[in-house]
């Protein structure tokens, strides 16, 4: 019984007011203020330390508490300094003019030039607010943690992380040099950082991230736009469209329901499962993209490209780098130079050009959809290799200037015209018209290995 009584006494909340407590090397001051319970928005300005905003418990009064520590001076000086610190609470009119619907809460410190030079201090602010109150918070030099808001939240912070959790509304964060993390937000999220790592988890609306030199990770969002520089960008589970502008950043994007656009370079790109169109503009890195339901455009400059399983048409261009494209359902345009260009199981029309590198094409079914198609191949110096299935329906029309034609299939008709050698062969009704020209390189035709 005594224990219970002691626990009950200890549970009683502190009264409104202020208190000074001296500890061994420093001194603390606590200021508490009750807040109006009927406001729609809280506008909070705090400096020199962290700020926490939580939902006030049922039956309790909304309140604010400022805790300040000071050290580095003698006790009277610390005391005098701490006594000048305060927490102001005022009612203001809302933007729509409705009187008293905004609570303005501000931690107050003595002017900089009135602070003893040797004195150090830090201040933390805790707010217990009704869930429905929207929040506009400006803070500096500490972490900001906001949990459980039923309205919009806007936070500006400097030199401190910002963490927002469980917000039914939109969130906006502008943070300098601190990490930003938001989770379980029903609305949209605008997250701006100066060298801020950004994590956004389960955001129902649009997520817009602008940061620099720090990693970005988004898992679960309505739609996304990310701008970053130098550090990685990771997107997973985006219901709608996603756009990433991230030079020098490794990019990973998986399970994007809408279209995906990436502008990047000098680092790798991994893409898996895009519901609509994929567009990549890139240079000097590796691109591995697969599972695109719509069209795909991959423009790389010195980028190794592997593109697989595209439902629509595809356009792939990358100079001086190996390119492999497989399983394109629609029309395919592919171009590279100096390295191998490999195309596997193209199901539609093809226009491919390889300068200085080998152009290799393979089919396991030709045509895969039973329809008529045109395939035009241009090679230069590196040669062209064709691998055809047993039951191919194709009409070959091959020309090699200054090279040779080597056909493993019987029945090809050859013609020599100066330095140019031509060969024609029709197989299985010739539904696919394949026209290949190679300057300064050989053309080889063979059966695809039995599967």
């Amino acid at each position: 019984m005594t224990l219970l009584a002691a626990l009950l006494v200890a549970a009683v909340g502190p009264a409104d007011g202020a208190a000074l407590v001296a500890r061994s090397a420093d001194m603390q001051r606590r200021v508490e203020r009750e807040l109006p319970a009927d406001v729609l928005r809280a506008v909070v300005v705090h400096a020199f330390g962290e700020c926490q905003v939580v939902v006030v418990a049922e039956g309790e009064r909304p309140r604010a508490r400022l805790d300040v520590s000071a050290s580095g001076a003698d006790e009277p000086l610390l005391r005098r300094f701490l006594e000048r610190i305060d927490l102001s609470v005022a009612r203001e009119a809302a933007a729509d003019g409705s009187e008293g619907k905004v609570a303005a809460i501000r931690s107050l410190f003595p002017p900089k030039d009135e602070k003893p030079a040797e004195l150090s201090f830090a201040a933390s602010l805790t707010l217990w607010l009704p869930e429905a109150v929207a929040l506009e918070l400006t803070c500096s030099y500490g972490r900001v943690h906001v949990e459980g808001r039923g309205a919009d939240v806007k936070v500006v912070n400097q030199f401190g992380a910002v963490e927002l959790q469980r917000v039914r509304g939109d969130v906006e964060v502008d943070d300098q040099y601190g990490a930003i993390s938001v989770a379980d937000v029903s609305g949209g999220a605008l997250l701006k950082g100066k060298s801020s790592a950004v994590t956004a988890l389960r955001v129902g609306g649009h997520v817009e991230v602008r940061t620099n030199g720090a990693p970005v990770r988004i898992e679960g969002a309505g739609s996304v736009r990310v701008e970053n520089h130098l550090k990685s960008v990771e997107l997973h589970d985006v219901a709608g469209d996603a756009a990433i502008v991230a030079p020098f950043c490794a990019v990973t994007a998986r399970w994007i329901g809408g279209s995906l656009t990436i502008e990047s370079g000098n680092a790798s790109i991994v893409v898996e499962e895009v519901g609509q169109r994929l567009s990549i503009q890139h240079k000097n890195g590796k691109i591995d993209a697969r599972g695109v339901k719509g069209d795909a455009i991959v423009l790389g400059n010195l980028s190794d490209v592997a593109l697989a399983d595209v439902g629509g048409s595809a356009e792939v261009r990358s100079a001086a780098a190996p390119v492999k494209v497989s399983g394109v359902g629609g029309r395919l345009i592919a171009e590279n130079s100096a390295r191998t260009l490999e195309i596997v199981n193209a199901r539609g029309d093809v226009e491919a050009s390889a300068r200085g590198g080998l152009l290799r094409m393979k089919w396991t079914r030709l045509p895969a959809d039973g329809a008529e198609h045109a395939v035009t191949l241009e090679g230069e110096a590196g040669g062209i290799e064709l691998e055809l299935p047993d039951a191919a329906s194709v009409a070959l029309d091959l020309t090699s200037s200054g090279g040779s034609i080597d056909c493993a299939l019987p029945g090809m008709n050859f013609e020599q015209n100066g330095a140019a050698r031509s060969g024609t062969l029709a197989l299985g009704g010739g539904k696919v018209k394949l026209h290949a020209t190679c300057v300064g390189g050989a053309i080889r035709v063979r059966r695809a290995a039995a599967r």
């Binding site: 020199f48 550090k231 680092a267």
Partner: protein, 224 residues
């Protein structure tokens, strides 16, 4: 108005008082089961009142106590005197009441305890260590900066230039952080930030230097 604890105690007392002098086998067991059910109701109510606070330790204690209450009676024959029965039942009541009270009160105590931590300032020793670490990082940054500035190849390298732009950006942040620290030099959070920023600057300069040594850009290597 009676508290849930009082109501619970009254119901158990009522059940105990209504026992016949020589209760048949199984009756005590049934009452224990009843007590366990009531204990479970209290636990549910207490959890609802306790709210979502992350009270792992309390959760464990509640779960252990609940398990204890819900455990079937041992198969030994208990002495069937009213006094012993009352002791057993009252113990169960006391335990359940303590759990309920703790569940009501501890969340608030623990929350306040967490919030009660005063904002951190570095001790003199910790401040000296922080300043020394910062000086070390600064020295390393200066050496790296000199090496990078003297590397003519880096001027033409896109990756290196991008890294050096980021270094300039961090220099600005470090200056801002130092200005803030002039107002509160033992501010633990700002000191930590300054060390982090200075460390990041060193890391970037090392990357830029490595680009110079390898004689080219990142060439497809993933960053971040």
């Amino acid at each position: 108005m009676n508290s849930p604890d009082d109501a619970f105690a009254a119901r158990i007392d009522e059940a105990a008082c209504s026992l016949p002098r020589r209760a048949p086998d199984g009756m005590i067991e049934r009452i224990r089961e009843r007590a366990a059910d009531l204990g479970s109701s209290i636990e549910t109510a207490a959890r609802a009142l306790a709210g979502p606070a992350p009270l792992d330790a309390l959760d464990l204690r509640i779960a252990a106590a609940a398990r204890e209450l819900k455990r079937p009676a041992p198969r030994v024959r208990l002495p069937r005197t009213q006094g012993v029965r009352r002791i057993v039942l009252r113990s169960a009541v006391a335990l359940a009441a303590s759990i309920a009270a703790a569940a009501l009160i501890l969340p608030r105590l623990l929350r306040d305890e967490a919030d009660d931590a005063p904002p951190a300032l570095l001790t003199s020793a910790a401040l000296a260590r922080s300043l020394s670490d910062e000086a070390l990082l600064d020295r390393e940054a200066k050496l790296l900066q000199a090496s990078v500035s003297g590397d003519a190849e880096l001027v033409a390298d896109e990756t290196a230039q991008s890294l050096l732009e980021e270094v300039a950006f961090l220099d600005e942040a470090i200056d801002e952080c130092r200005r803030a620290l002039e107002l509160s030099q033992a501010h633990a959070h700002l000191r930590e930030q300054l060390l982090e920023l200075t460390g990041r600057r060193v890391e970037l300069l090392r990357e830029a230097q490595a680009v110079g040594r390898s004689g080219g850009g990142a060439g497809g290597e993933a960053r971040g």
